[in-house]
Amino acid sequence: MKSFTYERAASVEAAAKAAASVQGARFIAGGTNLIDLMKLQIETPTHLVDVNHLGLDRIERTTEGGLRIGALVRNTDLAADKTVRRDYAVLSRALVAGASGQLRNKATTGGNLLQRTRCPYFYDTRMPCNKRKPGTGCGAMEGMSRSLAILGVSDACIAQHPSDMAVAMRLLDAQVDTMDADGVARSIPIADFYLLPGDTPNRETVLKQGELITSVTLPKPVGGTHVYRKVRDRASYAFALVSVGAIFGEDGTARFAFGGIGARPWRTQAADAAAPHGARAVTDAVLADARTTPHNDFKKPLVERILASLYRQQEERA
């Protein structure tokens, strides 16, 4: 771990300003990902701006009937929130499918959106990785890629986005609310929040230096049946091979978002549009542009199997 300076921000504006003014500054909240990465010198911030004391820990109704979730609401609290459990159940289910109880107690809503890939080549500083060190190449593409992405990948990077929570947020059309160093607030639709790797896999979101996530806003509840199905190599405490968040409507419509297969939490209009035609149609729609390796090509049939299972459950409910 490289030495770094540290400050405890007194306000959102001050935090954003501090982070923007120091080259190599990073915000720190729960630290469940950043501190690990710092120990391994994958992240080497020069300055940490601690945002844990800024409030931002409330869950409140919006005037539009939605829900504003403070960026510092811990995953445990968010998953247990009565409104979330009733109106946005897929979010609660996705949260409890992730990490462990101890990690969820620390991890925050804003931080979870920004957690970084679990690609093993990203995690070893001696290996090539365009995401960690642009221009060094991709170790994974010809290497061990079983857990990695098949959608949104590029010639530079096939890293997967690891978050469960973000899959549910994508499904729920969340907006990411931020404030920048000039005190300007904006709301970014989550569909636009994550960048695809392209030639610059080191750039993962549209956030500017110093731009702080202050809350995540959900639109008013859409009803329906909420499910989150995560398939992984053990029963708990593992990243998804494939996960599917789904909301089934009463009228045969449905929407889907996917984890474990995309460079970012994955959702397509085509897949949602195919919903009335069943699991195969949704699979074909979502995987139309899939690009697999011999190690991760099983994710394609797995997507279809999970969807088939969810459809069957939905029929059994009806």
Partner: protein, 734 residues
């Protein structure tokens, strides 16, 4: 004391303390954090500096140049150890690769430098500034590609690489039912909870190492050899160990580099391996390719059996003896086993819990399941039909010392409800799950080795036992205390046990499930010597004297032991040594595993629903700690079946998934109810304790029972471990 004839009735048979499921006597200290582990010994070595190991970034080649300037100038740095300044180091007898590499690099993550600084953070930050230019060389990393170049490896623990009896080829070709299959198992990492960790301090030319090590005397020897100093100048202290599984049998880089660092900077130095360093820096269980052929009659009675194993290791390394159990487990007049070892430039392969059998049974016991199906015989019945009460390679003149495999199979099947199993796969549905049952025999060789102890009693009647035996979480403290209490007729609470210090008598150490029986037998020997001294002090004939209630009795007379000990106390020391009973009798432990799994009809996710087993391992010294050993090992077997694998990147020659986020072991949610039954057994040829090992038996066959249950549930046979979702989906689509 020499054990060379079968044990007669002896004081252990009283079973007043030994055999009772006593809580661990070190349990309270462990759960309250007052049992200090090596890296925490600030009390013993104050002012320790911190060492951080720099591991090689290549798998094979040379260091062309090292630039230490930036690291040396970094804040807090006190010194940097490299091959260039470490002095002459001789490789330890138990090490395959050098623990400090350079200029030659033997494997990825081989230590090439130790950066010593005032804080952990400074050491780690400076370590990242060590600049090394490598000249890489091409290496061999792909077992499947290299297996064909395998050669006959040297003997392992006195047993040859190849064995045969009768005429396998002829009998196999004539057999009515022929099974021939290939199985593979991957490299495994021990993944014990406590990482390798040591503190070293020099006092003149004398070295003290607080470390985490299973085999004190082996390691003292290799520290002395490596550093070129007398053994008498090396003290090892390792009283508490947070798991080992074979990873800590030897001197490893943490201890050696702590010693070198402390010598260089002139103050104590502490070194722990970071978790991501462990899989590539240390040893691992090597991957295997296994070919099994079995020829049987239509009733499943085996006439011919062959097991061939290919594994790889660094030059000078050893083979994974995965055919070991096939020499002894089932009948068949015509048989052969063979091991072939090929050179791989991966990190060092070596022992991990039940080396040989743990992965050998993953293959053999699936092969038996396949044979049972081919013959239409129940898998339990098939094994009973093929039981043999003597070493089938040597013939009836070498019987087993005790062998209750059939009893384990019957009792285990009964308890598990095996008769409810439907032989045809895919018949039982529970919601979205296909449910099935599988079973496997358990087999692990029994080894006993020379082990010493000293035992004393003071004027308060307190008994102290000292031996360099280790407790790696197994319960050694408790069973040693139980043994001493039984032998001297004192309450368990009056016994203090001191372990893991090289100043104590040399024990068998912890490994190969030999520790419990061997170390308690050593305590038995020392206690017999102390009994003689106490009898002499009392003026009683020792053979007539009885020890109970803190008294020595002779007829109607008795004396208090405390009074006989006097102000100076009485001490005795002895060791147990062994004759040739293990040559005259085959000695092994047996069991039967049963497992029920669910396989998701859509996603092929596997969930274990129940595990159960029955085990015969001689006298069970403490049923509670023995059960813990068995359920822990069953858990490890479940891991081997379903998830554990080090992934080899054959381009860079390293294990890619080198942390515990990516190297998966079972979590609580993976492991359901586990039922363990011990079959009553006393083995009078194993030692005066009449006990055998039990620490590894539980992993042996457990994974195969899971694999066989998956087949019974879903009709999917995956022969390449671990049985993950991708392989099951591919099998389903094939």
């Amino acid at each position: 004391m020499k054990f060379d004839t079968p044990a007669k009735a002896n004081p252990i048979d009283k079973g007043r303390v030994v055999g009772i499921p006593h809580d661990r006597i070190d349990g309270a200290a462990k759960v309250t954090g007052t049992a200090p582990y090596a890296y925490e010994r600030h009390d013993a070595a104050p002012n320790a500096a911190y060492g951080w190991i720099v591991g090689s970034a290549i798998a094979k080649g040379r260091i062309a140049a090292m630039d230490l300037r930036a690291a040396e100038a970094a804040p807090g740095v006190l010194g940097i150890v490299t091959h260039a300044n470490a002095g002459k180091l001789t490789k330890g007898n138990m090490n395959t690769a050098h623990l400090l590499g350079g200029p030659q690099i033997e494997h990825f993550e081989q230590a090439v430098a130790l950066v010593v600084a005032d804080t952990l953070e400074n050491a780690r930050a400076a370590a990242a500034l060590v600049h090394i230019d490598y000249t890489p060389e091409s290496g061999k990393f792909d077992l499947a590609a290299e297996a064909i170049r395998g050669v006959v490896p040297p003997d392992s623990f006195g047993t040859p690489a190849d064995t045969s009896a009768g005429d396998f080829d002829g009998a196999f070709s004539r057999a009515a039912v022929k099974l021939e299959q290939r199985y593979t198992t991957p490299d495994h990492s021990h993944a014990m909870m406590e990482p390798h960790a040591s503190i070293a301090a020099w006092n003149g030319d004398k070295l003290t190492l607080w470390t985490s090590n299973q085999m004190i005397a082996w390691t003292v020897g290799d520290v002395a050899r490596t550093l070129g100093i007398p053994k008498a100048n090396v003290r090892l202290i390792s009283p508490y160990i947070g798991g080992g599984f074979g990873a800590k049998l030897f001197l490893r880089a943490d201890a050696l580099l702590a010693a070198l660092g402390a010598r260089q900077v002139g103050r104590p130095v502490k070194v722990a391996l970071a978790r991501p360093q462990i899989p590539n820096n240390t040893t691992h269980r090597p991957a295997t390719i296994q070919r099994i052929r079995i020829g049987a009659d239509r009733d499943g009675v085996i006439d011919a059996i062959a097991h061939e194993v290919w594994s790889g290791d660094l030059p000078g390394g050893s083979a994974e003896t995965a055919a070991a159990q096939t020499r002894l487990l089932y009948r068949g007049a015509n048989r052969m086993t063979a091991h072939r070892l090929t050179t791989l430039n991966l990190p060092e392969g070596n022992a991990m819990r039940a080396p040989g059998e743990a992965v050998g049974l993953l293959a053999l016991e699936v092969a038996m399941d396949e044979l049972a199906e081919m013959c239409g015989v129940d898998p339990v019945e098939l094994r009973i039909r093929n039981d043999v009460q003597f070493d089938p390679e040597a013939g009836p003149q070498r019987p087993f010392s005790s062998r209750k495999l059939v009893e384990c199979l019957r009792a285990g099947a009964d308890r598990f409800g095996w008769n409810r199993r439907i032989p045809k796969p895919g018949q039982v549905r529970d919601g979205r799950w296909l449910v099935g049952m599988g079973m496997a025999s358990a087999f692990r060789n029994n080894l006993a080795g020379k082990s010493g102890a000293r035992i004393g009693i003071d004027a308060q009647g307190r008994v102290v036992v000292e031996t360099d035996m280790t407790d790696i979480g197994t319960g050694s403290y408790t069973i040693i205390a139980q043994t001493a209490a039984e032998m001297l007729g004192v309450p368990l609470e009056q016994v203090t046990v001191r372990l893991g210090d090289s100043r104590f008598p040399v024990s068998a150490g912890s490994g190969g499930q030999w520790g419990a029986n061997s170390s308690t037998a050593g305590v038995y020997a020392a206690a017999m010597a102390l009994r003689a001294k106490l009898a002499e002090a009392a003026g009683y004939p020792v053979d007539a004297a009885g020890f109970e209630d803190g008294l020595i009795r002779n007829g109607n007379e008795s004396r208090k032991l405390a009074a006989l000990a006097g102000d100076t106390g009485l001490w005795a020391e002895d060791s147990m040594e062994y004759g040739d009973l293990d040559k005259r009798y085959a000695q092994a432990t047996f069991g039967a595993h049963f497992c029920e799994v669910g396989v998701d009809t859509d996603t092929a996710e596997v969930r274990i629903r129940r595990m159960g087993g029955a085990f015969a391992a001689g006298r069970i010294l403490n049923p509670k700690s023995a059960r813990s050993q068995v359920i822990g090992a069953m858990t490890m077997g479940a891991g081997a079946a379903l998830m554990e694998a080090l992934d080899v990147d054959t381009r860079f020659g390293f294990f890619v998934n080198h942390d515990m986020a990516e190297y998966l072991v079972p979590v609580h949610a993976d492991i359901p109810q586990q039922d363990v039954l011990f079959i009553d057994e006393l083995d009078d040829k194993s030692s005066p304790m009449k006990a055998k090992g039990v620490g590894e038996l539980g992993i042996c066959g457990a994974g195969a029972a899971v694999a066989n249950a998956i087949y019974n549930a879903a009709g999917l046979r995956v022969r390449d471990y671990p049985i993950t979702i991708d392989k099951l989906l591919r099998a389903q689509m094939a």
